[in-house]
């Protein structure tokens, strides 16, 4: 396949960026999107040009590092996949593909398609944990039976990979889906319930401080989430937050 790529180029956080058009030839439909980007970068290096910077690591859809906004959608046109799992067979010969970084005020661009998502880490540091020491001297793992349905729902929430597609897809750049996934995971498990009140207050507070927008229930986040994290989690977090403020 032969393709036209329109890629966001930006030298660093302070530089002014622009869309630059390239053409790439000989793309195999069996390539992953990132393999196509690799091939394009090899060509740029060959021609003495600066290769396009993009984040990526595991290339099997679990580390959450890859983060491109392709043809107006986080992780591109396929559903329930990250960019690294998107394959070129989803495109046609002659297509023009627009590639931008995940955009949000809270995600400053580092270079080209690479953004700084450390705001997510800081939200987790504010309360995304159970305050138990790591001595191993806790009670036996089977001491508290957990309803399988709750355990399964907690797992589903916990499968968030922290990629930021929810923020990039939201017209308000809200991080509610991300934050609510962590709040839900712990709210559903007896181990997490103990400090649920402080957790939700602290995490939401940090989320606001980082400059993420508010949730207006448009649901784009759920559609674009590569792990299918459900909007139910946002509803659960709202309940948790309300309960916490009433208590507080």
């Amino acid at each position: 396949m032969n393709l036209t790529l329109k890629i966001w180029r930006q030298a660093n956080v302070d530089a002014k960026g622009e869309m630059v058009t390239y053409s790439v030839a000989g793309v195999s439909p069996d390539m992953s999107f990132l393999e196509m980007m690799d091939m394009h970068n090899e060509q740029l290096i060959e021609n003495g040009e600066d290769p396009v910077a993009f984040d990526h690591d595991c290339r099997e859809g679990i580390c959450g590092m890859c983060s491109m906004f392709i043809n107006g959608e986080a992780h591109g046109p396929d559903r329930l996949v990250t960019t690294c799992q998107l394959h070129m067979r989803k495109f046609k010969d002659g297509d023009t593909i627009t590639i931008e970084p995940f955009r949000a005020n809270a995600f400053p661009v580092i270079k080209d398609l690479t953004v700084d998502r450390s705001a997510f880490d800081r939200i987790q540091q504010a309360g995304g944990f159970v305050s138990v020491n790591t001595s191993g001297n806790t009670q036996d793992a089977n001491a508290i039976p957990i309803d399988k349905h709750d355990a399964d729902k907690a797992f589903d929430a916990a499968s968030c990979i922290g990629c930021g597609a929810c923020v990039a897809s939201c017209k308000n750049a809200s991080a509610m889906l991300f934050v609510s996934a962590k709040v839900s995971q712990y709210a559903l498990l007896p181990q997490g319930k103990v400090e649920a009140t402080d957790r939700v207050l602290n995490m939401v507070n940090q989320m606001d401080e980082e400059g993420f927008g508010n949730c207006t229930n448009t649901g784009a986040c759920e559609v674009e989430c590569p792990k299918g994290i459900s909007l139910e989690n946002i509803a659960r977090m709202n309940r948790e937050y309300l309960a916490a403020t009433l208590k507080g």
């Binding site: 390539m31 690591d57 679990i62």
Partner: protein, 667 residues
């Protein structure tokens, strides 16, 4: 250099760890506040160690090259984590986990370390549940288990096919708690460039900030390397793109011995290579072998018809299929250990029975499991067990609940539906048992420098059993290193902060800058990947699933020549003081080009076959691996002497007190 001292404590095997913990030095809580520890890497081992050290009161500085510690490649582990809980009441015990691990490692691991690992395994599960890790549970609310290769019990705890992710997020959350308290200072997007040794002790590291290229000095009283394995020396592996040997290799060049570099795990069930463009390989979890049956056609004409697209595998009659693992190893069947399963796949493909265009693929078939589960469900629900369509539907639902994410991953990559047609799989490089040599305390041969998790060589011998990597990473980080490091640091309570103004820091920084400038100014002909791919091909062809003297000798010469060419002709675009992925990669590939040679040299010296290391010269008439205990019952620990070819071999003899060393059989 003195004889290698493994520092295994005295006493009977089951009492060693308990006694050792009671006898080693401690650092008081007040003094821990005066001591700094650096941790490089934030996978299971690094994250759990950082969290625990900070919790104990040390000042921890943790480094990772990714944009967040949560991205470390432990996240991609799929199948599960072993622990001798015996919740299933199927005869498991600490001893059995210990025994299975030693046997699985083909009697090339250190007995005392492995026993300790089995001992602390149960604490890991307790700890993780307390942290809110959502393991799979049954309807009674208790934890569920499954089986992995090389064992006859169900001791693997799991969270669908995302166990590594859930465990890593647990360790990451423990770290976050300490970052929030200010006890861990986290450095994302930082690469360790060198170790600084002052007065014979590890006292800090030089790093490069990957965002702006700044070279920084960081000091500490001890340095912990938790940077994972070196599978990417093969270019194509199941490792993440950024996984590298550099932190381990830098400490090797500063005096840490590198042990058993040739012990590599080739995992039997990965998605086959599809073309030249391939950048990495994807694993299909070993847990699939609980339900999938591996086969190739019996007749060559069927193979030809399949490759030509004229025949579907589902059309081949039962009697025309060769379930070669069940045929060769009736006791363990499809659940033989990884090294055995990989070689058996290679044997069939080499004989011409590979089922895809490249001739390098075998089937992993779920049709039987789907029928079995479907009939069970129909029976439970009081429906017609003879309704084939219904049974298939019900069975597929069960399989989806167990392995849904793996099946989805397969379908996205291969564009075939594995519920309807068998998966195609082939072995791929996955894990490295070899690594930095450590003693019982996990200290390397440099005082004050430790190596934990996959980065060290310790527990898996010549072959690692499935679901044991997660166990070892967390055991080292949560429960072993935090004790043993205190014994060393007890002497450092009056040292005070380590200055970064010493000549040693100065010299190390200068060397780092020199290498970076050399890459930037080289203006050569070929990209970094060009060299990485060439190295990978040499490694796979000559140091892969089977090795022989001639191939290994050739590999050594070819890698040497490639390394020379690399330094002369590599082309690194951009500048040193910006976000420059190619520059970071050039440094990593430079280290792989040295490690690769030592790897081949180690494989050449070890003329026996054991575990993942198969020397063609050492096999039984049936083609099974033949160990040579008389001559090779030792750990090869290599000392750096200026370049890989001059490395000096030290042997740590392996003594087995509790276990009778036998020929490994899974028949």
């Amino acid at each position: 250099m003195a004889k290698l001292d493994s520092k295994i404590p005295a006493g009977s095997l089951s009492e060693k760890w308990t006694n050792h913990k009671s006898n080693i030095n401690l650092v008081s809580p007040a003094n821990k506040r005066l001591i700094d520890v650096i941790v490089v890497g934030t996978g299971l081992a690094g994250a759990s160690a950082s969290a625990t050290l900070a919790e104990l009161g040390y000042n921890v500085k943790t480094f990772c090259f990714q944009d967040s510690p949560r991205r470390a490649h432990s996240i991609a582990a799929q199948g599960g984590i072993n622990a001798a809980k015996n919740y299933q009441g199927d005869g498991d015990s600490t001893y059995r986990l210990f025994y299975d691990t030693i046997k699985g490692g083909d009697y090339r691991s250190r007995e005392a370390n492995v026993y300790r690992l089995a001992e602390v395994s149960t604490n890991i599960i307790d700890q993780c549940v307390a942290q809110g890790v959502p393991f799979a549970r049954d309807y009674g609310g208790l934890l569920d288990n499954r089986s992995f290769g090389g064992v006859l019990v169900s001791r693997t705890f799991y969270a669908k096919g995302q166990t590594g992710q859930q465990l890593l997020l647990g360790a990451y959350s423990a770290m976050n708690r300490q970052i929030g308290r200010g006890k861990i200072k986290m450095y994302n997007r930082h690469e360790m460039m060198d170790l600084v040794v002052v007065g014979g002790k590890a006292r800090g590291i030089i790093t490069r900030n990957l965002v702006n290229g700044e070279i920084e000095r960081h000091s500490a009283h001890a340095v912990v390397i938790a940077s994972g394995g070196y599978g990417n020396v093969f270019f194509l592996s199941t490792n993440a793109m950024g996984s590298n040997v550099s932190a381990s290799w830098k400490i090797h060049k500063r005096g840490a011995h590198f042990a058993n570099p040739c012990f590599t795990q080739i995992h039997p069930t990965c998605i086959p290579v599809s073309g030249e463009h391939q950048s990495k390989l994807t694993l299909m979890s070993e847990s699939l072998r609980n339900d999938g049956r591996i086969w190739v056609p019996k007749k060559l004409e069927d193979v030809k018809a399949i490759r030509a697209g004229k025949l579907n595998p589902t059309e081949i009659a039962e009697e025309d299929r060769d379930y070669y693992l069940e045929r060769r190893y009736p006791a363990f069947g499809n659940l033989v250990p990884r090294d055995v399963a990989s070689r058996a796949a290679k044997e069939r493909c080499d004989a011409g029975f590979g089922v895809n265009k490249t001739g390098e693929a075998v089937y992993l078939d779920f049709a039987d499991a789907i029928t079995r589960y479907g009939k069970e469900q129909a029976h439970v629900k009081g429906l017609d067990e003879n309704d084939a369509a219904l049974v298939k539907k019900l069975g597929q639902e069960v399989v989806r609940a167990k392995y849904g994410n793996l099946f989805q991953m397969y379908e996205k990559i291969v564009d075939q539906n594995p519920y309807e047609t068998p998966m195609m799989i082939y072995p791929a490089v996955h894990y490295t048992m070899g690594g930095v040599w450590v003693d019982y305390n996990l200290m390397t041969s440099i005082p004050g420098c430790y190596a934990i998790g996959e980065a060290n060589f310790s527990d898996h011998g010549a072959n690692r059993l499935g679901a044991s990597a997660l166990m070892q990473g967390l055991a080292d980080g949560y429960f072993v290193l935090p004790y043993t490091i205190g014994d060393y640091l007890a002497d450092d309570i009056r040292t005070g902060p380590i200055s970064t103004d010493s000549p040693e820091f100065e010299a190390a920084e200068k060397e780092v800058k020199k290498q970076i400038e050399a890459f930037i100014n080289n203006k050569g002909k070929h990209s970094v990947d060009y060299y990485h791919k060439k190295l990978g091909k040499i490694m796979w062809d000559k140091c892969g699933m089977s090795r022989n003297e001639k191939g290994l000798k050739d590999a050594i010469e070819e890698i040497k020549a490639l390394r020379e060419d690399f330094y002369k002709n590599v082309k690194v675009p951009g500048t040193a003081d910006e976000f420059n992925e190619q520059l970071a990669k050039a440094g990593r590939v430079a280290d792989f080009l040295e490690l690769g040679e030592l790897f081949a040299k180690d494989a050449l010296e070890r003329t026996e076959s054991c575990g993942g290391h198969f020397r063609e010269e050492s096999q039984t008439p049936e083609g099974e691996a033949m160990r040579d205990d008389k001559n090779f019952s030792f750990v090869s620990a290599w000392e750096y002497k200026g370049e890989p070819s001059k490395a000096k071999l030290h042997k740590e003899q392996l003594e087995y007190e509790e276990i009778e060393v036998k020929t490994r059989s899974y028949k």
